[in-house]
Amino acid sequence: MIYRPSDVQLERATFRRRRAVRSVLLAAVSTAVVGVLLIVAVTGAPGWNRVQDSFLNLDVARKSFQPIVEGLWLNIRMLVVCALLALALGLLIAVLRTLRGPVFFPVRALATLYTYTFRGVPLIIVIYVFAFGVPGLRLQGTPNVYVLGGGALVITYGAYLAEVFRAGIESVHPSQLAAARSLGLTYRQTMRHVVLPQAVRRVAPPLLNDTVALQKDVGLISLAGPIDAVRAAQIATAQYFNYTPYIVAAVLFVLLALPLIAVTDWVTLRAARRQNAGS
């Protein structure tokens, strides 16, 4: 027997289709109205021509593009190295902070002091101390400013990431620990096979979020002399008396952040789907 929808069912389907078309049309109209209003408000402003010339000058953009990209390459290399090191440091500190037993009190205290201090001190000051203070000691084999500036970034971000990791570790229910120990796993095995896998998965979105933030902060090593993308833009701005290079740098930074942001969203979504799979 062939399925023949009832009249009522057909009516329902038509109604739904009509509603769908209607909401698409409404969304399109409302977007168009908002868009037109925005364009009119911006381009119709009395200073628009001046702003367009000093912030969106194609000629200056073309001339400043290459040095800015060269600067961005420094940002990218710094980001990769610093992000990996900061993640490792953060994980280590988080594990140290969550050690149990009175013997480990000094370790816990030091780890706590570290996270308190370096989350409080502004990054710029840490970079100044590392890049200008440390070489002043005139020690043999003082590393160059890239390493020193990178060290400042790793230490500051390590403190933030340590707290994120700790939140993850503490979010694992104590019953899991008890179950693991009752199976005969040592503390180390429990951490390695039961706690950390769950903890890291849970805090993956905030970890990636901090990495996106780090991407913008690595440029601060330009304080110590190296030319990063923003510094290159600043130099070009002074050279051409035009702010377009800053916009060029901003666009490049957004393009650089897009993949990371997309990965963050995807990981968050996947984690949510998995965690709610049973319910």
Partner: protein
């Protein structure tokens, strides 16, 4: 909207009225006093309308710093600005005894109001803001970019630009100094760029950079007063739009034209170049890098 525009227009009109109302009162007198001398020789030798007839009063700050002056005695004719002052005075017809020096603090020299000098030389760069308060002669010095370093650095003995190319050089962001590195020295590595000269100085002391590029007056000040063991490597050829030093005169002074003419003559006949070589590159210790 309409009312706001109307207010703005009214405001503009009021400001214009105020300006036009004030302007003649401020400008009328000097023109009138300037005209008698204009009838005959515009700049009679030794007969300009100076503060004391027959004498030219020259101002500068006390202490007067090397290498612009020497031993804090402007009247000894030594040092770049002292030498320039005497040359200008000579062109105006005032020689030896007829040049009188007076001590004028830097900030007072460019403050509006009555002046204690006829002309003042104190490393004043010519700026539009200062021009509102005082007159400037034609520039007698175009500021050069200079490389400085610390004793014992690998470029401390460099005499050529080529010898600087392998060095790690720094400068303040957005300055002619940075332009001098990229356009004149063209080093093999990337230059270091700093937010300000204080950071750059620290980096030089820490030896994270080998040399620092600043303008010549700053170079003298840094190596003389701020950096222990600081030395000037040398001056670079002119680059970009240089800062200009001008002789300061009272606003609308009848002497401005004559002093400018004298400075222009000194520039054209090469006297200024010779004085620069003698007192800045020679005695001052800032040799020229080739």
């Amino acid at each position: 909207m309409v009312s706001r525009h109307t207010f703005a227009a009214l405001g503009c009109a009021a400001a214009l009225l105020a300006l036009t109302a004030c302007a003649p009162a401020g400008r009328g007198t000097p023109d009138a006093s300037g005209s008698p001398s204009a009838s005959g020789n515009v700049c009679p030798l030794g007969g300009l309308s100076t503060r004391t007839a027959g004498k030219l009063t020259v101002g500068t700050d006390n202490p007067a710093y090397e290498p612009w002056f020497s031993d804090n005695k402007p009247a000894n004719g030594k040092g770049f600005e002292s030498a320039v002052a005497y040359q200008v005075a000579k062109r105006l017809g005032y020689e030896g005894e007829n040049v009188v020096w007076t001590s004028v603090p830097f900030n007072n020299a460019i403050a509006p109001g009555p002046k204690a000098y006829d002309i003042d030389l104190n490393q004043f760069s010519i700026t539009p803001e200062r021009k509102q308060a005082v007159d400037f002669s034609s520039p007698y010095y175009l500021v050069r970019q200079t490389v400085i370093t610390i004793k014992g650095s690998k470029i401390a003995g460099a005499t050529t630009i080529a010898a600087l190319q392998g060095a790690k050089l720094g400068a303040q962001v957005g300055t002619t100094s940075y332009q001098a590195i990229t356009d004149v020295i063209k080093p093999t590595g990337k230059p270091s760029v700093f937010n300000n000269n204080d950071d750059a100085k620290k980096a030089l002391q820490n030896r994270t950079i080998d040399g620092l590029v600043v303008d010549l007056p700053t170079a003298f000040y840094m190596t003389g007063a701020e950096l222990t063991g600081g030395v000037i490597v040398g001056q670079l050829p002119q680059v970009g739009v240089p800062e200009q030093f001008g002789i300061v005169l009272d606003k609308d002074s009848p002497l401005t034209g004559c002093v400018s003419k004298a400075v222009d003559q000194l520039r054209q006949d090469g006297t200024l170049a010779v004085l620069e070589k003698t007192w800045l590159a020679g005695t001052g210790g800032a040799p020229e890098l080739q």
